[in-house]
């Protein structure tokens, strides 16, 4: 709400400077800043820009703000009056008003002013309007805008002769009824929109904008002036559905003063008469629904102090309320406060507590610290888990990324590519690239990699934790997942020459499971994926449940992301991981007996994977086998085609006794022959 000193001076003697005034209003809840006029050289004075909260509809006018200023500063409100001369001819001879939807329009009143001369407004009026950004039109329209700004009551002027018939009806529009507003645009209305209508067609979109068909211009002679009250939430709904917001609709949506409707009408009629030379017909024609008077709001003064933590004396509380124009009956211990009609926002005791607090000054309320019982604070495991993972990954050189939860429909694919999981779309996305809620963090991370690649960094390790959003069987589910994406290439460096590969990623997975003390993950072949490379990827199982996937990405999938190399990706279901972290650690006593290591070098078929080999060794090794550790794999020269050479270190030991040489040897032999039997492996020649 813009306001200038010339406006204010019409109603209040302001003794403060603009800066002081802005400060006072801001600290009372009306955030005010000082703005330059469009031409600061010619007009160096400042405009006050009052940023109002939705509850202070009473301040959407110069009068309202002046009242606040008076309450805050003691500056005096000027006595104002105007004179209205009416002719003998009653307005009811020319117009009749009916309201078909009284719950939408509790008051509708009109006046008729005949024989006006439409002309530009006088200089003083033009300057006032322009100073707050209102575009002047002609004297009559300008007067309605002046009253809107000054009183806060929106008015509308119709060219009376352009109204078909003399009956005005306030009714709901018919579904799909067409109406051309003053801006020349045709609107398609719904049965929820309220129309001011003549006999055959609408003449104004109630509370929002007048119709082009009854516009006041230089040919107009007779003015039908409207001042009314419209139900706020319905006006708001209309403005939203039509995408049409005006100074009028803004005020009606927040609530105008019911007792200001008639005053504004009369004042405007008086101004039109003096500035445009019209003759005001006798009386206003109106249709009003009688609403019961609001009863007083009760306030217990001790409640003020209990809630605020203050010790404000009763007298001071009463005084504060009275400066706000509230009428206080203090005959009983509980105060009965009559709230003037312009403060529609004060309805309950708590609203009065707020008024006292803000006028008393929040700065004057002592700062204290609460006392209470110590309770058992809850802290979700997931938050601690995410923190640990974050620390672990950053220590291992992976940086954390943050991407939007919404992605384009082109990038979308369901969680783990399960087609039963359906996408959730936004009805009103902010852009075409952000229409669908993600079910994977991969698209975001790939975009990050492409972004950085373009800017010169093609080696990158990123991770992100966040929610994915799934619709399945009409239920919406959110899951927290972790995704790591690393580029195959690494930063050119002195020491590290090896590229990143599947095993680096697997190493991160193993580190995570070790650090979080969850059961070791098991990798199995990844079935059917369009995202991952079929030969270089795996499904992660923990305790036989699918916990994630990892591997190199499919070259076809990558092609859409302008990346030079296929990144390696690990996806983990953190909700599932969290469920495993409640295991308690229990110390296992250390063995006092020596452990013996023996190397086993084998030549074996290339197709047999190390996991299978280790399992066979463990099977035959029995109780005294503590572990198998592969330390070399060799394929190539000296090894027959289709075969590979594996060297592993096998550890033997017991917690109860020292093992005998014979035992170890015989087990070792047994393992070797078992392997030979099962896989046809042979001892590596030349060890």
């Amino acid at each position: 709400m813009f306001i200038t000193y010339p406006w204010l001076e019409k109603i209040i003697d302001v003794t403060l400077s603009p800066a002081e005034l802005a400060e006072k209003l801001t600290m009372a809840g009306l955030e005010t800043s000082l703005v330059d006029t469009p031409d600061p050289k010619a007009h160096p004075e400042k405009i006050l820009d009052v940023d109002l909260t939705p509850n202070r509809a009473d301040c959407l006018s110069v009068k309202g703000i002046a009242r606040e200023i008076a309450a805050l500063t003691g500056c005096k409100i000027k006595k104002e009056s105007f004179s209205l001369t009416e002719t003998d001819i009653p307005a009811s001879d020319f117009v009749a008003v009916s309201v078909s939807a009284p719950e939408r329009c509790p008051t509708y009143s009109v006046r008729l002013i005949k024989d006006v001369t439409i002309a530009p407004s006088p200089k003083w009026l033009l300057e006032l309007l322009q100073s707050v950004g209102i575009r002047p039109v002609n004297n009559v329209v300008d007067i309605t805008n002046y009253i809107l700004w000054y009183e806060g009551q929106p008015l509308h002027a119709f060219d009376y002769r352009l109204i078909n018939g003399k009956d005005i009806n306030v009714r709901l529009a018919k579904e799909k009824e067409k109406f051309v507003t003053l801006d020349g645009k045709e609107r398609i209305l719904s049965a929820d929109d309220l129309l001011i209508a003549g006999k055959t067609e609408g003449i104004a979109l109630a509370g929002v904008m007048g119709g082009a068909n009854t516009e006041v211009d230089e040919t107009t002679c007779d003015i039908l002036l409207e001042s009314a009250l419209f139900e706020p939430s319905a006006i708001l709904k209309t403005t939203r559905s039509l995408g049409l917001h005006t100074e009028s609709s803004h005020r009606f949506a927040r609530g105008v003063d019911p007792e200001g409707v008639r005053l504004a009408l009369d004042r405007a009629a008086s101004m039109i008469s003096s500035l445009a030379g019209g003759k005001v017909c006798k009386g206003a024609v109106e249709c009003t629904v009688k609403t019961p008077q609001r009863g007083p709001v009760l306030l217990r003064p001790e409640r003020v102090n209990t809630l605020l933590g203050t010790d404000i004396p009763r007298k001071e509380i009463i005084s504060i309320l009275e400066t706000l124009s509230l009428i206080v009956d203090s005959s009983e211990p509980t105060l009965a406060v009559t709230v003037p009609s312009f403060r529609q926002d004060i309805e309950r005791e708590i609203d009065l507590v707020e008024e006292v607090a803000r006028i008393y000054g929040y700065g004057n309320i002592d700062t204290t610290l609460p006392t209470g019982e110590i309770a058992r604070p809850d802290h979700p495991n997931l938050i601690d888990l995410s923190k640990e993972i974050r620390h672990l990954l950053t220590a291992k050189g992976v940086s954390e990324a943050l991407n939007y939860s919404f992605i384009s429909s082109v990038d979308f694919f369901p969680y783990f590519e399960d087609k039963k999981k359906l996408p959730i779309e936004l009805k009103n996305p902010i852009s075409n690239e952000m229409t669908t809620m993600r079910q994977s963090l991969i698209p975001g991370l790939l975009k990050n990699m492409a972004f950085n690649q373009k800017r010169g960094t093609s080696y990158l390790s990123l991770f992100e934790t966040g929610n994915i959003f799934i619709k399945e069987n009409d239920k919406i589910e959110e899951k927290r997942i972790l995704t790591i994406a690393i580029s195959p290439s690494i930063k050119k460096g002195l020491w590290n020459k090896k590229k990143n590969d599947f095993y680096v990623l697997k190493g991160l997975l193993e580190a995570i499971s070790e650090k979080l003390k969850i059961p070791a993950p098991m990798l199995v072949k990844l079935e059917r994926s369009a995202i991952f490379h079929p030969g270089k990827s795996a499904t992660v199982l923990i305790n036989h449940r699918q916990a994630g996937r990892l591997g190199e990405l499919h070259p076809d999938f990558i092609s859409g992301y302008s990346l030079t190399q296929a990144p390696l990706v690990l996806e983990l279901d953190l909700d599932l991981i969290t469920s495993f972290t409640n295991e308690k650690i229990r110390y296992t006593p250390l063995s006092r007996f020596p452990v013996v290591h023996r190397d086993l070098s084998l030549t074996i078929d290339s197709s047999i994977d190390c996991g299978t080999l280790k399992n066979l060794i463990k099977e035959r090794g029995g109780d005294i086998l503590l572990g198998v550790h592969v330390f070399d794999i060799y394929e190539g020269e000296q090894i027959p085609q289709g075969k590979k050479s594996i060297a592993c270190s096998v550890s033997f030991g017991s917690a109860e006794r020292t093992l005998l040489e014979d035992e170890i040897n015989s087990t070792y032999e047994s393992i070797f022959s078992y392997l030979n039997e099962k896989t046809g492996s042979t001892l590596r020649e030349g060890g």
Partner: protein, 296 residues
């Protein structure tokens, strides 16, 4: 020594003794020399073994935590230490839990304060984490102290606004909570996060779910109150929204406002991040340029 076998009895003894002494003498001298050579060989080796200590260390280097995560963790830590429980909630919510239970009816101008992303008539992306508050109050009896961190969504995008951002909203309900307590707790948070000397002021405002409501400002950390672009020349930066919980909210969760009182507050994490690290464009936080990420 070889001549000892040719000598006679007494001579043998004498020769033997002399030769042994000589042998010992020679052996000692040899050992001495050997040690000397070993020492000088070692010395030579130490002088020759040189490395360039200015070369890079081995290892992958460290990655960075995202500044939003860091600040989130810090703020959660501050309130946890004050005994606040932490709770997360769904990002997709119903109109009821996001608005109506918080005293924001349909077709009310207060909804303009938060432009919403809709999924259907029933579901939307939450515009604040206050719904978690409601869920918690419905499930538990007071006294209760809780913060709800998480992602929130609003249709807004420019240099200081992002369609997705992070918030921590919190509340405290007990038998004698006052506005003074609200001031105390929030001031303490600000001093722990920004430093003891930062000026704090509370100014009246409006939120549908609190009454009286307050905006909490800190003295501009960029210009120290003198006035600059960041604080729009006012010298103050708005950090938190807060207020005593509106009785209407208590009614919707079944708490008796005559017995219980409480305050609620909310803070935007991206805002804190931008102020803490002097970042001027919120979009940088979602761009993930590694040169940006590595600065934190």
């Amino acid at each position: 020594l070889r001549s000892i076998s040719k000598a006679s009895g007494d001579e043998r003894k004498l020769l033997g003794k002399e030769s042994n002494l000589l042998k010992k003498f020679i052996e000692e001298k040899i050992e001495e020399k050997e040690q000397k050579f070993a020492l000088s060989a070692r010395k030579l080796r130490l002088e020759k073994e040189r490395i360039d200590i200015t070369l890079d260390g081995k290892g992958a280097g460290v990655g960075s935590s995202h500044p939003v995560s860091t600040v989130m963790t810090e703020v959660i830590g501050i309130f946890s230490k004050m005994g606040f429980s932490v709770k997360e909630g769904p990002e997709i919510e119903t109109d009821y839990y996001n608005f109506e239970a918080l005293n924001i009816p349909k077709n009310h101008p207060a909804r303009d304060m938060q432009d919403t992303f809709y999924i259907s008539e029933e579901h939307l992306l939450r515009t604040h984490t206050s719904p978690v508050q409601i869920h918690s109050m419905e499930k538990a009896e007071p006294p209760i102290r809780l913060i709800a961190p998480g992602k929130v969504y609003r249709c807004d995008a420019d240099v200081t606004h992002s369609p997705m951002f992070h918030q921590i909203e919190g509340f405290m309900v007990d038998k004698k909570i006052t506005f003074g307590d609200l001031k105390g707790v929030l001031e303490l948070f600000i001093h722990l996060f920004f430093g003891k000397n930062v000026p704090v002021r509370f100014r009246p405002s409006f939120f549908p779910f609190t009454e009286p409501s307050a905006e909490v400002d800190i003295g501009c950390v960029m210009c120290l109150g003198k006035g600059c672009r960041i604080c729009s020349q006012t010298g103050w930066l708005e950090i938190l929204g807060s207020g005593l919980i509106d009785p209407a909210v208590f009614h919707s969760v079944g708490y008796d406002p005559e017995v219980w009182s409480g305050f609620a507050f909310g803070v935007g994490i991206e805002r804190l991040v931008m102020l803490k690290y002097c970042i001027d464009d919120i979009r940088l936080l979602f761009e993930n340029d590694i040169r940006f990420l590595k600065q934190f």
